[in-house]
Structure formats: C-alpha cells, structure tokens
C-alpha cells in the first residue's frame, strides 16, 4: 500500500478547510445525514488514508463509491477544492489495491472494460440490446449486475429505455451534413457520438447534427472516436481512460474541425478534463489542450452561434433538470435554459434544486441502487411540483433516470422526459 499512497494529491486535500459549506448541497448527505457520506467527510477519509491512519479496505472503498461524483460540492466550495479530481484519484487507489488483492468485482469489470473500451463491442452490445428489446432487458441485466435490482424497479428501468435504433439505421448515416444557413465563415463541427449516446439515443445524435446544420455549421460525425473515458476515470480505471483520451484526440485531429460538440454532460466534462489527465504526458499535453479548447456542449455552442429561427410552436410547459457534469463540471447553466425559453409557445418553469443530482450518476444507479432511488424520489417530489409537460435533460444517464422517475412517481401519461436536443429538433 505504501508505494501507492502518493497518487492522492495531498496539496489539494489540504485546500479543504473542513468548513462544511459543501454539506447542504450534497445529495448523499441530504439522504443520510452522515459525515462519511458528505464531501467534507470523504476528503477527510482520503486524508487519513494518505497519512496511513486508515487502510484502503472495503469500508473506504464503499464510501468512495457511495459518492455520486455529481460535483455539486465543487460549486458550493468557497475554497475551490477540486473534489472531482480527488475522487478519481481515490478510486484509482482503491482499484490499485484491489488489483493487488485479486478481488476485483466482475460486475464492473464487464460493464466497463469489455464494453466501453471497445467501440466494436459496444456496437455489438448495442445490436444485442436491440435484439433483446423484444424479450425485455432481463438477460442483459443479469449479466451487467443489474440483478440486484428488484423485479418492480427492473420493470421500471426497462420501460424507461426507448426502443433502441436498429443496427441498419445506425450504419446508414450520412457522413457530412452541409450547413443549412449561410454565414460569413461556416464553422466545421464534429459531433462526438459517445458510446452510450450512440447506441441508446441514436436519434438524438442525428438531431444534434441537424440542429447544428440549421444553425449554420458544416457537420461531420467524428470517425474513430471511442468512449470518452468518464466511466473509467470515475471507476478508478485511469489508465484505460487515458488510452481512450489519446484515441479521441487523434480522431479529432484527423477530422480537422473547429469545434467538437457533444450532447452528454457527463462525456463533455470528461473530454474537457483531457488536459488534466494528460498533463504529465509530454507528447500529448499540448494536443490535449487544443482538444479541450475545441470541445463544447451542444447548448454551449448554440449559444455562441448567431441565433437561429424556430419554425414550429410547442405549446408545452417545460422544466429543466441540470446534468451535474454540465452544470457543476462545465459551468453550463444558463445556455440550455435560454434555448428552451426561446422556443415559441414554451412556458418555462424553473425546477427547485434543479442542479441537485437525480441519482443516475454514470453507473451509480446500478452499483448503489437503493441510494439512487432514494435520491430520485426526493428529486421527483420537486419535479411533480413544477406541473411540467416535459422535463428536459442534457445527458443520457439523467434522461433514463428521469424517465424511470416519472414511472415511479406515477406521472406516466402526464409528463415526459426528453433530451434538450430532441425538444429543439421538434421546433425546427
């Protein structure tokens, strides 16, 4: 253990003055009232491990994984502690120690390494998923560890997943979409398709391209991209995450685009971390910086472009649930809201505590199922109060979670969850 301790960044840990200002914004602290489930507590535990006062054991591991990684604490922290990075380091340490112990959990191993690492396999899994849709998610669920989930929740989750695009549909997509509006200088934009997004929300990626073209961009789907690496980094698999980052940087460089757009808050935050991940990789750090400079969330880029026209009216009451990694991770808060407000006919209502996590948090809703559902139920109490027709999100995980939340809250038929891009596309 001793030789691995240095991966924890003691200087950053010491930036935490244990003032506790982050506590009221932390969803797991809100649910449990326990210091061990708070940002301040988790940082204190990391410090104790770094000082070898506590061992890296099951309890420490479960406390590190009980965190949503939503980074609401970063927004609240007056001292600017980079909690997200501390958490990634701590989880990497846990995984290192576990590897030494040969006690790795098969569940996460399958989900992450075998699937997300290889776009080919992901596509295969996507095809598989599509194939098993008819018979339900049961089999896939059994394999990915969703077995811990109770039958009722299982059914809710299954209903929450939209029919997945068929393999044929996904292959037959146009490579370059020309700009639909002339601008002095037409920006060339690459759409980062991301693995989960492209399998589960194929149409949303298509819609992203269409909107950008409508807004005056020349759009390409980036070839050769892999998973962004977010799930790996959050799960302590930093080395894999870095391999993926390099692959994506190469793909970006080959495409020769001005911007690289993504529509998943979680992926976007990871893509923007590449410069930090590759900081001490001499041949990569500059390239990573250029990559980060070109990376935008779709709402973020649309806000930078000249306003485009909507052609249809949507007479809907709409609310917005922040994606944690878009709001806390990337600081993109006003852009999606402003876009929604601009749609003719839309009545926008603000969701109380919109920037508090919905409990989806990557694969958290699989690994920490009960807590995830408790957090979701608290969230749905606020959502219900908005009386919205549509609750809009900016991230696939949140979207699935909100869909499940609507079912759990008995709001099916009264309320829908949609990705912001799909809402905008409806009004074009």
């Amino acid at each position: 253990m001793t030789d691995r301790v240095p991966v924890l960044n003691m200087d950053e840990i010491l930036n935490c003055m244990h003032c506790g200002f982050c506590l009221p914004t932390c969803p797991t602290y809100e649910q449990t009232g326990l210091e061990t489930q708070s940002p301040r507590g988790r940082i204190a535990l990391m410090k104790a491990v770094a000082e070898q006062k506590l061992p890296v054991d099951d309890e420490f591991a479960s406390n590190m994984y009980a965190c949503l990684g939503c980074r609401a604490c970063e927004t609240a922290c007056p001292a600017g502690v980079k909690y997200g990075q501390l958490l990634e380091d701590a989880r990497e340490l846990v995984e290192d120690v576990k590897r030494g112990d040969r006690r790795r959990s098969f569940r996460r191993d399958l989900a992450l390494k075998r699937l997300f690492m290889h776009p080919g396999r992901m596509r295969l899994a996507g095809n598989l998923l599509w194939a098993v849709q008819a018979s339900g998610l049961q089999r896939l669920a059994n394999r990915t560890g969703m077995v811990r989930i109770l039958p009722k929740e299982m059914a809710e989750m299954q209903r929450a997943v939209d029919p997945v695009a068929s393999p044929g549909q996904r292959k037959g997509r146009q490579a370059v979409i020309p700009a639909r509006r002339s601008q002095p200088r037409v920006p060339r934009v690459g759409v980062f398709t991301g693995c989960v997004m492209d399998v589960l929300f194929h149409q949303t990626n298509e819609a992203t391209a269409r909107i950008l073209a409508h807004a005056g961009c020349e759009v390409v789907f980036l070839e050769g991209t892999a998973c962004c690496g977010a799930l790996h980094a959050h799960a302590g698999e930093k080395a894999s995450a870095i391999d993926l980052a390099k692959q994506n940087i190469e793909a970006f460089e080959e495409a020769g685009v001005d911007f690289m757009v993504n529509n998943a808050g979680g992926c976007g935050a990871a893509l923007k971390e590449y410069a930090v991940w590759l900081n001490d990789h001499p041949r990569w750090s500059e390239r990573a910086k250029r990559f980060v400079d070109a990376t935008r969330d779709v709402s973020e880029l649309l806000a930078e472009l000249p306003d485009f026209e909507f052609t249809k009216r949507l007479d809907l009451r709409v609310t917005y649930q922040d994606s944690c990694h878009l709001a806390h991770g990337q600081g993109v808060r006003t852009q999606p809201r402003d876009l929604l407000r601009r749609i003719p006919g839309v009545t926008y209502v603000e969701l109380p505590r919109a920037d508090s996590c919905c409990g989806s948090a990557g694969i958290y809703n699989i690994t920490n199922f009960e807590m995830s559902m408790d957090i979701l139920d608290t969230k749905m109490n606020h959502v219900r109060g908005t009386m919205a027709d549509v609750v809009v999100t900016s991230n696939p995980g949140c979207l699935l979670q909100m869909k499940q939340g609507i079912i759990r809250a008995g709001l099916e038929g009264k309320m829908r969850a949609m990705h912001i891009v799909d809402v905008i596309a409806m009004a074009l």
């Binding site: 244990h18 009221p24 326990l34 204190a44 535990l45 506590l54 001292a79």
Partner: protein, 488 residues
C-alpha cells in the same frame, strides 16, 4: 473510567474485559436509539473526529443520532452512570474545537432535531429543534415577512443549536445584536438525565436566575439543548450597500466612529485590510484597488427613505474624512457584487497555504485602528503571514494566519504571535474571542480574560450542572476540574 478512556484514545492494547464493556454499552445505546442510529465503524469514527477547526482532532467511540428528547435523556443517563464523555454536535462548523472528542466517548449528533415547530406571528416567536439549519430558519420566517437577524458566515450549514451553544455572531451584530439577544426559551437535558425548560415566549421574565442566558454560549458543557424559542422582528422592507476605500486604516476606523456619533447605526460595517484585499482580488478578480489600506463595506436596511438618507450621510462623512473612493450600489445585484469581496475573504485566504487559522480577537470599536496596526507589527515580529478582516462596526476582528500544519517550527511562531495578539486585545480592553467561543482553542487564554476567581466560579457552575464532568470534557477549562478526580 480511565480505562475506557485509555482504550479509546490510543486504539491499541484493547484488553478483553474492555471490549466486553464497550460492546455492552453499544448494545445499550442501540436499545435506546435503534441499531441504525449508533455508528462506530473505523471510517465513521474518523469522520466525526474533527470540526471546522484546523489541526485538532479526536475520534469518538460512538456517534449517536437521537430523535427525541427522551432518547437524549436516556443516553445521558447511561453515559453518566458509566462516566462516558458526551459531545453534543450540530453541523461541526465551529472554529474552537468544540466538537472534537478529546477524551473519546459519544458524539451526540443533534441534526435530526430539524423541525420548525411553530412560527407564532402574534407573539413574534419561532420554536425550533436545535438541528434546524440557520439559513432554513431564515427562509421559513422571511416567507412570512419576519426576520431572524443573526447571520453567522456559516449560516447555510450551521445549526441553531450550534449557534446558541456557541453564542454565534454575524455581520448584522452592530445594529441587531447577536444570537444571545434572540433566545427567549429553551428545553434542555442535564447530564444526569433530567429534562428541564427555562424562559418561554415572554419578553419579560425575571423569575429566578436567567438560566437561558447562562446556557447560551455554554459550548455543550452544561446541558444538551433539545428545543429553542427565538425572538423575531418584522423583515426590513429595503436594504442598500456601499463600499468605501481608504488610504489609511485610521481613516476607516474614523468613518465608523463618526457614523455612529452621527446617530446612524448601519446594519453592517465590515472591513478588509490591504493584504486581504490583494488576496481576494487575485482569487475573485473583482478589480479592487490595491493601493489603498482598507475597504469598508456598509449596509443599511429599514424603511426606504430612511435607508437612502442614512447611506447619503455616511457617504458624506466618508468623503469628509478623506476616503479615496465611495461607491453606492444602485441595485440589490450591485450590492451583492460589492459584498462578494467580504464573502470570499476567507476562501481566498485559505487557498494561499495548506492551513488557515481564523481568530476573532475583539476590541472596543475605538481601538480598531490600533489593533490592526498591532497585528501587523506582531506578524512582522514573528515572521508569519496574517491578514485581517472583520466586523468594523463592533470591533470584532478576524486576524487570519496562513500556515502549514506540517511545519512544527512555523506553528510555534504562529502560536506565539496569536498569544501576543490576544494579550494586546486584552490590554486595549477587548476580549480573546468575540463569537467563535473558547472550546479547546482558547482555553489557555481564558484565565487571562476572566481571572482566576472567574475560572473558579465557572467551574463551580459546571459542577452544579454536570457533577461527573461527562459533558464535552476538555473544553473551556484547561485544568480538569477537581471534582473529576474525586469522582474517580
């Protein structure tokens, strides 16, 4: 008792008989509050070993989460019988080491007492559990046009119980007073288990000793508070903010004095010294001038015309005294932008070095400028980095030292510097702590402030409430009170 303490403090050489005692205590605690409400894993004990105070730590054996007054009483009875220390705890944001379990024992977490029981609009009172978060109370009463003025900087997370037990202050102290001025009645449990009430909804009440006032600021050493009745005011209808820059600290102090001499009491008068301003500006990029010695942030609230008139007059006074610049905010957003400098002061300072020690030496308002220059002299003398900001209106300063807890030699100089700062504060007729409390952090300076006889009297009071010394031991008094040896 010694053995129980020895066992838990060192964590080593646990002998079987002690394990037995400990596990039987654990099961008795579980029988009172339920299995889920007793926590004692290694991580949990560590996570309750600190509060917002730098450096000091001490892990408890158990963390207990009671939900009713009866449970509090039963836990205390058990602890008293077994001579186990009990440390009441709110959100753990105090800066005096008040919730550190120096002698292990039970951390009694009061956060589940988080109900606002009643807002009484005809008597202008609110009754709450001690676990209610200060800012939640603000929101609840302000929604009814009412006002609970105490606003410690930590209000978004501090609990009312912690505010009262610590005698918390805040930025509105000058005009509205501090927490102690708003406590009307309490329900509390003695360490021996008795459940008592003092005070109530009456503004006037002289029946016997004022135990309510005694328990305010008692730092969890006399009783556990389980319910509080607080005084409310009508919410002021408007508020305006202004900022004043001064070439010399004495000018800032003079503006404060002349304002008050002109019979204007602003809600808030905060100041930042030059070194704090520089750090804040680097951190928050507010575009503060760096060639001035101090800035004053002034806020007035009340009826609109009155507020406008007061702000105008303060601006006149400031210009006359020789302020280099006076800016009045025209909108609430502008006001918030101006206040941002003060609000980000501690955060900005805390980023400079690994460890930040925030003190709260306080002097009579008229000694403000002298005190600030004395602090500068002392920092220079001991070669430590101290920036000062704070509440100019009431002389409550926050000399803040940036250091590194890993450097023992530097910490010694820091200690010496603060000892001298407190000495100077006392010489100027001030006090060692204005709002953070004594706790562990300032116990050794307390005799200088209250005298040996004062300590003796306080110890006798302590004994009357807590004959076995189980409540929050190691706080306020350096010496273990004599009767504790007798009890053993």
């Amino acid at each position: 008792m010694e053995k129980v303490l020895g066992l838990t403090v060192t964590d080593e050489g646990v002998d079987d008989c002690m394990v037995d005692t400990n596990s039987s205590i654990r099961s008795r605690l579980c029988a009172i509050v339920g299995e889920d409400s007793v926590r004692d894993s290694a991580n949990e004990r560590h996570a309750y070993s600190y509060d917002a105070t730098p450096i000091v730590t001490g892990a408890p054996d158990w963390i207990v989460f009671p939900q009713t007054t009866r449970q509090v009483s039963e836990v205390l009875r058990l602890a008293n019988e077994e001579r186990i220390p009990v440390i009441p705890r709110g959100s753990g944001t105090n800066l005096a080491g008040g919730t550190v379990a120096v002698a292990a024992g039970i951390v009694l977490n009061m956060t589940r007492f988080n109900r606002i029981v009643e807002i009484d609009e005809s008597n202008l009172t609110v009754t709450v559990g001690p676990g209610v978060i200060t800012a939640d109370l603000h929101r609840a009463v302000e929604a009814r046009g009412l006002f609970y003025p105490p606003d410690p900087g930590s209000m978004r997370i501090s609990t009312i119980g912690g505010n009262v037990a610590q005698g918390a202050g805040g930025m509105r102290g000058l005009k509205y007073g501090v927490t102690k001025d708003y406590v009307l009645g309490l329900e509390y449990v003695l360490p021996t288990g008795e459940i008592l009430r003092c005070g109530g909804k009456n503004y006037k009440d002289v029946a016997g000793y004022d135990l309510t006032r005694l328990l305010v600021g008692s730092e969890g050493t006399l009783a556990v508070i389980t319910e509080l009745t607080l005084k409310l005011l009508p919410l002021p209808e408007s508020k305006r903010t202004m900022v004043v820059y001064c070439k010399r600290m004495v000018d800032a102090a003079r503006i404060v004095e002349r304002t008050i001499a002109a019979k204007i009491i602003p809600a808030t008068m905060e100041f930042l010294d030059q070194s704090t301003m520089r750090v804040v500006d680097q951190f928050a990029h507010l575009g503060l001038p760096t060639d001035v010695a101090a800035m004053l942030l002034i806020e007035q609230d009340g009826v609109e015309q009155q507020v406008d008139r007061d702000i105008d007059r303060i601006a006149q006074i400031a210009r006359k005294v020789g302020a280099t610049d006076v800016q009045v905010a025209n909108t609430p957003e502008d006001g918030a932008r101006l206040m941002a400098a003060r609000r980000s002061a501690l955060a900005a300072l805390s980023r400079l070095r690994p460890t930040t020690i925030l003190e709260d030496a306080t002097v009579p308002r008229s000694e403000l400028a002298t005190m600030v220059s004395e602090i500068e002299r002392i920092a220079e003398k001991y070669q430590v980095q101290i920036c000062t900001f704070g509440h100019a209106g009431d002389g409550n300063l926050h000399p803040t030292c940036m250091t590194d807890e890993r450097d023992a030699e530097e910490l010694e100089r820091v200690d010496a510097a603060f000892a001298e700062i407190f000495e100077v504060a006392l010489r100027l007729g001030g006090t060692i702590t204005g709002e953070h409390g004594v706790g562990m952090a300032k116990a050794k300076f307390l005799p200088k402030r209250v005298g040996e006889d004062g300590i003796q009297l306080m110890m006798r009071l302590k004994q009357a409430f807590d004959p076995n010394g189980i409540l929050n031991p190691g706080k306020i008094f350096v010496r273990v009170p004599d009767w504790q040896h007798v009890a053993e």
